[in-house]
Symmetry: C2
Subunit: 308 residues, 2 copies
């Protein structure tokens, strides 16, 4: 089978055996935004030489404006619901093959609903292996997802626009003018100062202006100021999740993402005495395999045996 994690800015392909063994992987920058609506042609080109019959897709490729809009599944939802609501397509150019799209999830518990597309598949492995009870998962990024899992099902979704706001402020605001373009140097001391500042009164809009006075006063300069801004935003994200309260907090948060981002969030959570368990970004491949195996099983089909 072929697992395809197709987001708005990335395309990751994995060729896997029926038993889940990863055979080959490919990466491309042909995200749904860059592929200009030519989804079939882009996928065929990126999969060149892979002839497996079953192709599973997750991510923004199933959003409005993507290849095939998949309705959201309402929370709480677990592996059985996700597998059951996958949809099969036979688009032209893929004769004799099956394309399976995974639905996104929607949480309507708040006045304004929250959603995810793609992350539900990264979560699938955790849904399978975590014991009963409540677990907190965070997938940091452009739009950080905070997910509550209860007894194997996604119960709550809360998204924070942390990464996008950080990038906007770096590139286009008066704050960015005080920082270097290069974003690679992390200043732990400044990051921690930003974290501490985030719990002060005054709110994020006020704290952001303080980044400017902090820079102008010479307390932090350049790269350190960028780390201070990062600490401030991550701190506000954790604060809104109740992780800085005196009340009950999760003992541990599962983190899914790139090593660099996980390092930043792990530092912040450790500062708050919250344990972390890190998981790699490419959980999506394992999730897609898991959903495929479930669906085949449910359909009364046996997953085809690996080639002799």
């Amino acid at each position: 089978m072929i697992a395809v994690d197709w987001g708005s800015t990335h395309l990751r392909l994995y060729r896997m055996d029926a038993d889940g063994t990863l055979r080959e992987r490919r990466r491309s920058d042909q995200g749904t935004l860059a592929s200009g609506g030519r989804f079939g042609a882009v996928l065929a080109a990126e999969m060149a030489g892979w002839d497996d019959a079953h192709i599973l897709l997750c991510g923004m490729v199933g959003a409005r404006g993507g290849w095939h809009e998949m309705p959201y599944l309402e929370c709480p939802a677990g592996l059985p619901e996700l597998a059951r609501h996958m949809q099969r397509l036979h688009p032209p150019g893929f004769e004799g093959r099956e394309l399976w799209f995974v639905p996104g999830l929607r949480d309507a518990a708040e006045a304004v609903p929250d959603v995810m597309r793609g992350e539900e598949t990264q979560l699938a492995t955790l849904l399978e292996v975590l014991p009963g009870g409540v677990h907190q998962v965070c997938l940091p990024g452009t739009h950080s997802k905070w997910v509550t899992i209860r007894d194997g099902r996604v119960q709550r979704i809360r998204t924070a626009m942390t990464g996008e706001l950080y990038a906007l402020l770096r590139k286009h605001s008066i704050l960015g003018a005080l920082m270097p373009d290069d974003d690679s140097r992390f200043d732990a001391y400044a990051f921690d100062a930003g974290l501490r500042r985030s719990v002060d009164p005054g709110g994020l809009l006020h704290h952001l202006f303080g980044v400017r006075t902090t820079g102008l006063s010479g307390q932090f300069e350049g790269a350190a100021l960028a780390s201070y801004l990062s600490g401030l935003l991550v701190g506000h994200e954790l604060h809104a999740c109740g992780l800085t309260d005196d009340g009950p907090r999760p003992a541990q948060v599962h983190l899914i993402g790139s090593a660099r981002l996980l390092g930043v969030y792990a530092r912040a959570l450790t500062t708050l005495d919250v344990g972390v368990q890190r998981h790699p970004e490419d959980l999506a491949a394992r999730g897609l395999h898991l959903l495929w195996a479930r669906r085949m099983q449910a359909a009364g089909q046996r997953a085809p045996a690996p080639p002799a």
Copy 2:
């Protein structure tokens, strides 16, 4: 005398009689950022035909990178301190004339200090006329200033980056992509919905993502969605100022700014049962005249009599 309100993006000039009567006014887009360091030449050109000896300047023209960096005056500070710490310059090209620069204010009560440049001059008239006690003033804008006046002196300054963040999100974020470029249509119903949302749990970073789901779900579209975003940001600004708390709140807030912005903030405050008193944006001219008269008086000079 000539009063010059010179900010980073605007230049406003007022020619006034010694008794404060406004004779003539001019506006230009030659803000300090646009004037390319040629401050003297720009000012001479904009003042062409005005030969008054005394020129008073406030705003970013006195910032680092401006014409002449003025040190900040520490809060609490009132009219006497502002007048006393003005500095006189005799730059080339202005022979026989005096240029007076007004200092900015700095509030170091918080872990991160807050500052203003220019707004202190807009406040000068209020410092003169308000009775003793505590008064709350708000100058909404790119960087909204919340100022506490106590017994004729500026006691506290709190800046919120509301306007800049609104513009950034409109122009550069995924939220802006759902809104028209034109920003002129105000949707009161959507604005109020954003205001209400701002007091929900979850924090600003989470509420911002909700603007997207609100747009995608079709609840608000285009211009209405921009008003929703505006209500959300203004709501968070008021919330951080304690105006949405159950505890004691000011009965009235003085608003200084453009008619359009004041309309927006007045609507939000009225919703919260807080009274408003509006003041026009060009209070700076009256403030500069007031500071000039004070300084002349303190120097033992009488303000020169108006020409016969």
